[in-house]
């Protein structure tokens, strides 16, 4: 492994971690609302959340590009208000990874919340705790293993993201290059040995992440 390879591994790891950290609060909130309440527009939100799972990643990337580009509604506003450009930057990589990992986190978290007996939350309320407090003291701790598995799964998904990232962040060496992009680039330029080295790293990282997720899920099943 060359120093620049380690730099790619490090960059991929931290953008993946950051993207997951950013989606945890909204992801848990959406999962909680989907798991516990009936509300108008719930089916629509369920479908919207799941879209990145079934749409081609490059299509999701194109949506992000149009949204975050300097002429896009969000990107234009960010540029005019703060002078910030998102696309073709590390921030664009984080945005792409976050959007692509979001459905996996929500799905796992929703299941984890649904497995918490409603009864315990009800009784906690009769003991004088409001819904917010019950969430923090009962629902969240009881769902923690499922939530942790979801976080690890989302992180694993982010590690391997390619299609949306290349659309919205491009391939800029040292700036937006993730493991997936670097492997693709190496194959394109005929540097197969480089591609295989990075592939080995990818396999190890994905294996560890999935193993951890699986381990957490199994411990949850066993109580």
């Amino acid at each position: 492994m060359l120093p620049e390879d380690w730099q790619i591994v490090w960059f991929t790891t931290w953008v993946s971690a950051l993207s997951v950290v950013l989606i945890i609060p909204p992801g848990l909130a959406v999962a909680w609302l989907l798991a516990r309440f009936r509300w108008p527009g719930k089916s629509l939100v369920e479908t919207l959340v799941a879209l990145p799972l079934v749409m081609p990643p490059v299509a999701t990337g194109l949506i992000l590009l149009k949204l975050l580009g300097r002429r896009g509604p969000l990107g234009g506003w960010l540029h005019q208000t703060f002078g910030v450009d998102i696309v073709f930057s590390a921030a664009a990589v984080v945005a792409a990874l976050a959007v692509m990992s979001f459905p996996l986190l929500v799905r796992s978290a929703r299941t984890a919340f649904e497995e918490v007996p409603h009864r315990l939350e009800d009784i906690a309320r009769t003991l004088g705790h409001g819904p917010w407090n019950v969430f923090w003291t009962i629902s969240l701790p009881l769902a923690r293993r499922g939530l942790a598995a979801g976080v690890v799964l989302a992180f694993a998904r982010a590690l391997g993201e390619f299609g949306a990232t290349i659309m919205v962040a491009g391939f800029i060496m040292g700036k937006t290059t993730t493991l997936s992009l670097a492997i693709y680039q190496s194959v394109q330029t005929g540097d197969d040995s480089h591609a295989l080295r990075l592939l080995a790293v990818c396999v190890v990282m994905a294996f560890v992440a999935l193993w951890a997720s699986e381990k957490l899920s199994r411990r949850r099943e066993c109580g």
């Binding site: 315990l120 009800d122 009784i123 906690a124 309320r125 009769t126 003991l127 409001g130 003291t137």
Partner: protein, 211 residues
């Protein structure tokens, strides 16, 4: 204590629950066949279910007024509820379960509950390691420590064998004697009801049909 349920109406799958009731006894027993609506009635009083019509007042305070869309949240009612399945929190140890609803322990209530229910040896144990009778006592203690104005006990001994029932019943008498918390006690057992309750109401298909 005065608990007044006026014209409570809630349609259920098999029948409509309709209750008009004024309770003043220290311990009121509630019995009747399974599926008669006893648990639903307790849940309505605890604020966990909303009736379609009617009102509930506890010591003059309006807990529910369906006509005015007033449903006081369960956490503000100070109505203790021990369900049949006990609903102990599995991720908390016995002490944390007991203290969950305890706000200010100025009068040494925690110590008193631990003493009366004979819990000193259990406080550091996990919920999973408790026997049925021990769980029962922890659930009773947890509800008492939240400082309820009334305690709703839904068939608290139904999951215990006769030997354990005989062990837990004295604790209920102690609770009645030491804490003076009014109770509604749901049970199928005439022996339990006769020994503990000042009056016993019979519920069938959502209606109180006598005492």
């Amino acid at each position: 204590m005065s608990l007044v349920l006026e014209n409570i109406v809630l349609p259920l799958a098999e029948f409509t629950l309709e209750v008009d009731l004024k309770l003043t006894a220290a311990v009121t027993g509630l019995t009747g066949p399974s599926g008669a609506g006893k648990t639903t009635l307790l849940e309505i009083i605890a604020g966990l279910r909303r009736p379609q019509q009617g009102s509930i007042r506890l010591d003059g305070e309006k807990l529910t007024d369906a006509g005015a869309r007033h449903f006081l949240a369960p956490e503000k009612r100070r109505v203790g509820y021990v369900p049949q399945d006990l609903a102990l929190f599995p991720h908390l140890d016995v002490r944390a379960n007991l203290c969950y609803g305890l706000r200010h322990d100025e009068g040494g209530l925690l110590e008193k509950v631990i003493e009366v229910l004979e819990l000193p040896t259990l406080v550091k144990r996990s919920i999973a390691g408790l026997s049925g009778g021990e769980k029962q006592r922890v659930a009773l203690g947890r509800a008492l420590l939240a400082g309820p104005r009334i305690l709703l006990l839904d068939e608290p001994l139904s999951n215990l064998d006769d030997r354990l029932k005989g062990k837990i019943l004295p604790y209920l008498h102690r609770i009645r004697r030491e804490f003076a918390v009014p109770m509604i006690y749901v049970s199928h057992s005439k022996a339990e009801l006769g020994g503990l309750c000042d009056e016993v109401l019979v519920m069938r298909e959502g209606r109180i049909q006598g005492s």
